[in-house]
Amino acid sequence: MDGFAKYLGRRLFQFFLVIFLGVSLAFLITNLSPVDPVEQSVALMTNFGATDPRSVELMRQALQELYGLQGSMLDQYLAFWGRVIRGDFGPSLSAFPTPVMSLIMSALPWTIGLLTLSLVITWTLGNLLGALAGYYRSNLLLKFSGAAVMALHPVPAYIIGLCLLLAFGFIWPILPISGGAQMNLQPGLTLDYLRSLIVHGTLPALTLVLVGLGSWFISMRSLVSNIVTDDHVVYAELGGVSSNTIFSQYVARNALLPQLTGLALSLGNVFGGAVITEFLFNYPGVGRLMIQGIYRGDYALVLGVTTISIIAVAVAVFIIDLIYPLIDPRVRLS
């Protein structure tokens, strides 16, 4: 039990460290940049007409206060933490006066849903295929599917998504290529709405699955082909244990542990793929929100999405860290 407490303590420390460093980094980037966000926003606003110098000055002050850009660097830093903790990033400039936080909160479920679903599929399928391919080395079908999955793996999400979009949106138009659900449907637990959700999510999810499959496949296959030479597997084979039992209980079960750690380590990267995919398919998640924010010069929105992404990924990593001991008895009972 002592070992478990230690494990938990370490993970918790890492969790807070990630959030602390990540949020500080976001602050630093915005503060060290040569571009003044207030001037940028003012310039953007005055493009639309308001050019009276007095009102510009007023606006400048209001913005400085809104963005917490008054006082010394340390004041600003502390103010930023205060806003992160309160979950208040000010109003969005591009959707004035909607608060940034409520934009993020309505986008976040889409991203979480899309990512969770595609990640579960990717991880399960990639590991299953990889484990089978590592264990049944000479199976031709596995070899072939493995080669296909591996060839896709280095190609960036955008390219795979674009090809899917061309294939299923133009050449053989059977799937919607834009949005999260049909516009005119009332969100709710109706069959029509769920159907629409699934149909709209198919291409983005498929993109993420195709992008992610290869790396799980490759790492699982090489893990398994190492594990089959481990003493406990060789011995079970000599003991006449059935090959199904060996595969599931002796090989796959041991290989899953590092793959679960790998899942936690990969989340930061996976999130990046989601940003691009959402943008490509106009999917209403935080990734699209961020890119729109950049195009529209919406300082508060971009900073808010970045900060929330950092925190969300850290939380997801921590959840996986909590699951790990359930599977590895060496952490649970040491």
Partner: protein
């Protein structure tokens, strides 16, 4: 095979190995390598016998015993010869009938492999190992099986509660005992053990040796086991075989081999054993163990042999019957253990 003479065989033999050759054959980026780890070995083991195999590290002991156990994986391949068991009238040719071999595992024949502290699955409780390996051979109900296993553990001096543990919660000695328990729970006719005591400290080693001997006597099984530690052989083997560079160079009843070694290499092994009240400095064998990918011609021991003559360099001495055992040396019997 011409130059190997059979030892006097009784009708009561359990294992007959004939002209066995097993090589590691590798081919990588166009480079071929062949390690002749088991080179023309013939031996016979009797019912109720404990047969020890001795030799320095890398001489091919594990390769030999793996080949006997049918436990080889590429690149190790059997090139020639046969391994045949006879379990009370039921014959089993290890490399001719893989199906029968599979059926015989654990039922008639069990194997304790080198480094057996790591043979238990780290992520499952110990009880599952017993179930996976032994249950199907017993033909009894789950609960009867459980109590049978608990009884067995008890006799071996293990608390049956270890069944509910994970391997990492047990000490090395306990895990070693557990693998011995696992290998004996079906009461097989034949046990093959590779360095079963090497990783243990001396006290635990004594315990485990006593345990093996005890089990063997109670079950009437035969055991072939490997260790480079001559004192272990002295303690439990009925007969020993000495392996040098992939070949059996001498074999005989333990006592005779220790008293009157016939082969210069055996003599060296025995003379380098520490003896009480004797502080004489032992002479080390000159030279290095041979490279099995390119072994010396003739007698493989000749570059290091104090008695080597010209004939030794060109002609390989056959393993011939001499006194109570067999020996492969042109000048057999000319040495005396110092």
């Amino acid at each position: 095979m011409l130059n190997t003479l059979q030892a006097p065989t009784t009708t009561d033999s359990v294992l007959r190995v004939e002209g066995l050759k097993a090589y590691y054959q590798m081919n990588y980026f166009g480079v071929r390598r062949e390690v002749r780890a088991v080179d023309d070995v013939s031996l016979t083991i009797n019912r109720n016998e404990i047969y020890g195999i001795a030799g320095e590290s890398s001489s091919g002991k594990s390769s030999l015993i793996k080949t006997i156990a049918g436990a080889i994986t590429p690149p190790l391949r059997v090139v020639e010869g046969s391994v045949k068991f006879d379990f009370g009238g039921r014959a089993l040719d290890v490399y001719a009938d893989p199906q029968a071999m599979k059926a015989a595992r654990w039922q008639n024949l069990s194997y304790i492999m080198q480094g057996s502290m790591n043979v238990l699955n780290p992520v499952r409780r110990v009880k599952h190992a017993f179930h996976d390996f032994a249950f199907k051979h017993m033909g009894i109900s789950q609960s009867a099986f459980r109590s049978r296993v608990e009884q067995h553990l008890h006799r071996i001096g293990l608390d049956p509660r270890v069944l509910e543990s994970f391997p990492h919660q047990l000490s090395g000695g306990m895990r070693q005992r557990l693998t011995i328990a696992l290998a004996t729970v079906c009461e097989p006719d034949f046990i093959i053990a590779d360095e079963p005591t090497t990783a243990l400290d001396v006290l635990v080693q004594q315990d485990v040796l006593a345990l093996i001997k005890d089990i063997q006597q109670r079950m009437g099984a035969s055991i072939i086991f490997v260790t480079h530690d001559m004192t272990v052989h002295a303690a439990i083997a009925d007969r020993i075989g000495i392996v040098y560079a992939g070949r059996l160079v001498e074999e005989g009843p333990t006592l005779d081999v220790f008293r009157r070694p016939q082969h210069p290499y055996t003599a060296h092994l025995i003379s380098s054993l520490p003896r009480i009240g004797d502080n004489k400095k032992r002479s080390a064998l000159p030279g290095k163990p041979p490279n099995l990918a390119d072994p010396p011609s003739g007698c493989r021991f000749h570059p290091r042999c104090p008695l080597a003559v010209d004939k030794c360099r060109s002609e390989n001495p056959p393993l011939v019957v001499r006194q109570t055992g067999r020996v492969a040396c042109w000048r057999a019997g000319e040495v005396q253990a110092a």
